[in-house]
């Protein structure tokens, strides 16, 4: 039967060649886009290592000197005291589960600080995200150590020790050496200040679209806060986790409740933002990219469907007499239909072979991004499996409609045409 179908394909070669080229081009691009979407989504759904649900970020504002409420000559020490008072008052609000102060550490704001960490002769290859936070930061975003405990992380910071990520631990402590209790430094010199590693957290990723996950956390101290008592105060992030029951219309209710309490010295409660909403804004470009790619996949598939239907429409009409003959000679309509399917699928399969070779060569040449995933056989074949299945569905759908119509013609009518 195969040989027979191949002969048919050969006889219709003038039409088939166009279809074949189209399938080849589409398969090529479809693999590229499907692969892209697959790699992105695969990365997207890996655990983030932190939880932003029911969290908010707020900032303090500094009164303008010309404001009627401005208080002159507040010492830096007093101002730092106000910052701690603000944190304490926020924490005491019954709606709040946990609150922290941090700098360039809250997720999904796009501002980062990073630096290299050293240990004896070992250094991190790239600079590592620097999370400068108060201990409760881990409770706000639910960072965890391997056994699921958050308290260990909080306690480590309370002891003024560092928390590092598994990636950093692996780089600085090879051969499964336990990092807790060991010393590291931020400068590569003998006189550099040493810090004790207090805990290693689980993997914490930067966001859904990146796999950047090397960080260390350090406790915010008074000296650090002193540099933020002036016009930079807006740079401090006051992040809170709200109890799930209270997380409705939170921004308005909290503002009503706390505006008075948070008027401390020259500080006032500035903007409050929901972190999940910030997350959406921050990842909007990537999400749009992803949607656009899916849209192109959809467009290509619709085109394949239209093309296949169009071509098989003519073909089945053209071969109505042949179909009639087959049916009258004892083929069931199902069998005839199957022949058409096999014809389409054979065409697709022969178009897939050169595509696979081209993609293999391009992959070997390093054309495809390997930032999120290496060009492994798994990635190569999963991409092809998805591409193949999508195209098969389109071909079967495209053939089904015209072929069914042709098969349904009574054999006598079809034969009479002859």
């Amino acid at each position: 039967m195969f040989k027979h179908i191949l002969t048919i394909i050969k006889n219709e070669r003038r039409q088939n060649i166009g279809l074949w080229i189209e399938l080849l081009i589409v398969a090529l691009f479809l693999w590229y886009i499907v692969d892209n979407v697959y790699v992105t989504l695969n990365n997207y759904y890996k655990p983030l290592g932190f939880d932003t649900e029911h969290t908010y970020i707020m900032r303090l504002g500094l009164l303008n000197e010309s404001s009627y409420e401005y208080v002159k000559d507040i010492s830096t020490e007093t101002a730092v005291g106000y910052l701690y008072t603000a944190l304490e008052r926020i924490q005491r609000n019954p709606m709040i589960e946990a609150a922290s102060i941090s700098f360039h550490s809250s997720p999904h704001i796009g501002s980062n600080r990073s630096r290299n960490i050293h240990r004896d002769t070992l250094s991190t290859k790239y600079s590592v995200l620097n999370r400068t936070v108060t201990p409760n930061f881990f409770r706000v975003f639910k960072y965890q150590v391997e056994n699921g405990s958050t308290d260990e992380l909080v306690q480590a910071l309370e002891r003024n020790e560092l928390v590092i990520s598994p990636g950093v631990a692996k780089e600085l402590f090879p051969h499964d050496e336990p990092p807790v209790g060991k010393q590291v430094s931020f400068e590569k010199s003998d006189s550099a200040q040493l810090y004790r590693v207090g805990a290693v957290s689980r993997v914490v990723r930067y966001d859904n679209f990146s796999n950047w996950n090397s960080y260390f956390a350090q406790r915010i101290d008074n000296d650090f806060l002193k540099t933020f008592t002036g016009e930079w105060v807006g740079g401090l992030e006051f992040c809170v986790r709200v109890t799930p029951e209270e997380d409705h219309d939170f921004i308005r209710r909290f503002r009503e409740n706390m505006t008075q309490q948070l008027r401390l010295g020259n500080y006032y409660l500035g903007e409050i933002q929901s972190i999940p909403i910030n997350k959406k804004a921050f990842q909007k470009d990537d999400i749009n990219d992803l949607k656009m790619r899916m849209f192109i996949v959809f467009f290509l598939l619709v085109n394949i469907f239209l093309g296949i239907t169009g071509i098989f429409w003519f073909r089945t009409q053209h071969r109505r007499s042949e179909i009639g003959l087959r049916v009258s000679l004892g083929d069931t309509p199902k069998q005839v239909l199957r022949k058409f399917y096999i014809e389409g699928l054979l065409l697709l399969t022969t178009a897939m072979v050169p595509t696979m070779i081209v993609i293999y060569i391009l992959g070997r040449e390093g054309i495809f991004a390997t930032y999120l995933m290496h060009f492994t056989p798994g990635r190569y074949f999963i991409g092809f499996a998805i591409t193949y299945i999508l195209l098969i569905i389109m071909i079967v759908l495209g053939i089904r409609i015209p072929a069914l119509k042709a098969v349904k013609v009574p054999p006598a009518t079809a034969l009479r045409d002859e």
């Binding site: 010309s66 006032y268 192109i296």
Partner: protein, 428 residues
């Protein structure tokens, strides 16, 4: 004659409705895709108020500094200092105007004096030239002037929405308003700005000298400002870049440890849109290449589709054309009939494509018009997407499809007219 061709063509389309529908939908989809892609480009690059001068603007979004003559390859990246912006950009003589603005001032709490409840709005600090670089529509009052900015007068320009929410009316110039617990005078009221105007967008604008800006990193190079340059003409861009380079060197001569470098800025509007991160240049070559590949792909696939279908359709009609020739139709006659047929089909496809484009303009609003920068704003994307459906672009898309359809019908038709009549009649 033409009327008859149309009649014939119409009959032909009706004779095989499913098939005609397929080729018409194919044409429509191709047109719709082209329109969507062009629209998403238009919305970001075409000029409209207040960003009417996008084609002659240059932008300096981020600033970078590094240690002079040092082995340390690290750099510090972010907005620039106000003083730095003044000596390196404000001092430029070639451009028409240079405006220094705050990069991301936190949103402000706004209220009427004596009112307890404050509303949150986006705030931007600018100098007086901002009102010259951008083309705002003032409903009431006027912008603050150079004298106001130099003196640090607490004047403010607000949008219609802020005025309505705070005062209940838009004629409020001269009124007092509380912004972050400080009293300001409303200088003017402007029409709301769509968050699509990435550079000019805000809800409140006030003189950059009314607040102490977070400043001072890397000997004044880093701070919290951005610069917008309006050139007199597009062709002045190289001259402005050259002049900026001279000013940069002059500034760097005066510093001890740090030097500023621009990572190829000032940017044109197109590059500015793609400059996302402060510490790396956008790879414009690969961005353009990718867009071209996508565009070509979206054109080629429907093209193969349509021509394949047209081609087999013509083959099926070989005998018909043969008969017509046998009865004396000239080659010219046959070809012009085929032309009219594909014209009708393309026109139908075009009309449908236009409807598809309208639907897509609304359905894909989020993808086409929004990006991360805008999503962080409190304001809305207030632009009628349909206003972007440019007739010229539609015409081009239609012409392209017409060419495609005609070519794929024309070639087989011409072949037929060259074949011996007997062969044509005989074919099935």
């Amino acid at each position: 004659m033409i009327q008859q061709y149309f009649k014939q063509a119409w009959r032909l389309l009706k004779e095989n409705p499913v098939l005609s529908a397929i080729s018409i939908i194919g044409t429509a989809l191709a047109i719709c895709m082209i329109m969507v892609i062009v629209m998403s480009h238009q919305v970001k690059n075409a000029p409209y108020p207040p960003e009417t001068n996008r084609d002659r603007m240059l932008y300096v979004k981020w600033m970078s500094s590094r240690e002079k003559n040092s082995t340390n390859t690290g750099s510090s990246n972010g907005p620039m200092g106000y003083g730095f912006a003044k000596s390196c950009f404000k001092a430029l003589e070639t451009p028409e105007a240079v405006s220094i603005v705050s990069a991301f001032a936190p949103s402000a709490m706004v209220a009427m004096p004596g009112q307890n409840i404050a509303e949150n709005y986006d705030k931007m600090l600018t100098d007086e030239d901002f009102w010259q670089v951008f083309d705002f529509i003032f409903i009431d009052g006027k912008p603050y002037t150079k004298a106001d900015v130099d003196a640090g007068l607490r004047k403010v320009v607000i949008t219609e929405k802020v005025a309505l929410k705070t005062f209940g009316t838009t004629i409020v110039s001269g009124q007092r308003i509380l912004i972050d617990y400080t009293e300001f005078t409303v200088s003017g009221v402007v029409k709301d700005v769509s968050a699509l105007a990435t550079a000019a967008y805000s809800q409140i604008w006030m003189p950059i000298t009314t607040e102490i800006l977070p400043e001072g990193g890397a000997e004044g190079i880093s701070g919290s400002c951005r610069v917008f340059i309006l050139a007199k003409h597009k062709r002045d861009f190289p001259a402005i870049k050259e002049e900026a380079e001279i000013l940069r060197k002059k500034y760097n001569d005066g510093t001890t440890t740090y030097e500023a470098f621009y990572r190829n800025q000032p940017d044109t509007h197109f590059v500015f849109l793609h400059r996302k991160w402060a510490n790396q240049e956008p790879d414009m070559k690969s961005i353009v290449r990718q867009s071209v590949i996508v565009l070509v792909l979206l054109l080629i696939v429907p093209a193969i589709n349509l021509s394949g279908m047209m081609n087999s359709r013509m083959r099926k009609r070989l005998s018909e054309l043969g008969v017509r020739r046998a009865f004396g139709a000239s080659q010219k006659n046959l070809l012009s009939q085929v032309m009219w047929e594909s014209m009708l089909q393309t026109l139908l496809g075009g009309a449908l494509g236009l409807i598809f484009s309208y639907i897509a303009a609304y359905a894909l609003k989020g993808i086409i018009y929004e990006n991360s920068d805008m999503a962080f704003h409190l304001g809305e994307v207030t632009l009628n997407p349909v206003s972007l459906l440019s007739p010229a672009i539609f015409l081009y898309a239609l012409l392209f499809c017409l060419l495609l359809n005609t070519l794929s019908a024309f070639i087989p038709a011409r072949n037929v007219s060259h074949k011996p009549i007997v062969d044509s009649i005989h074919s099935k």
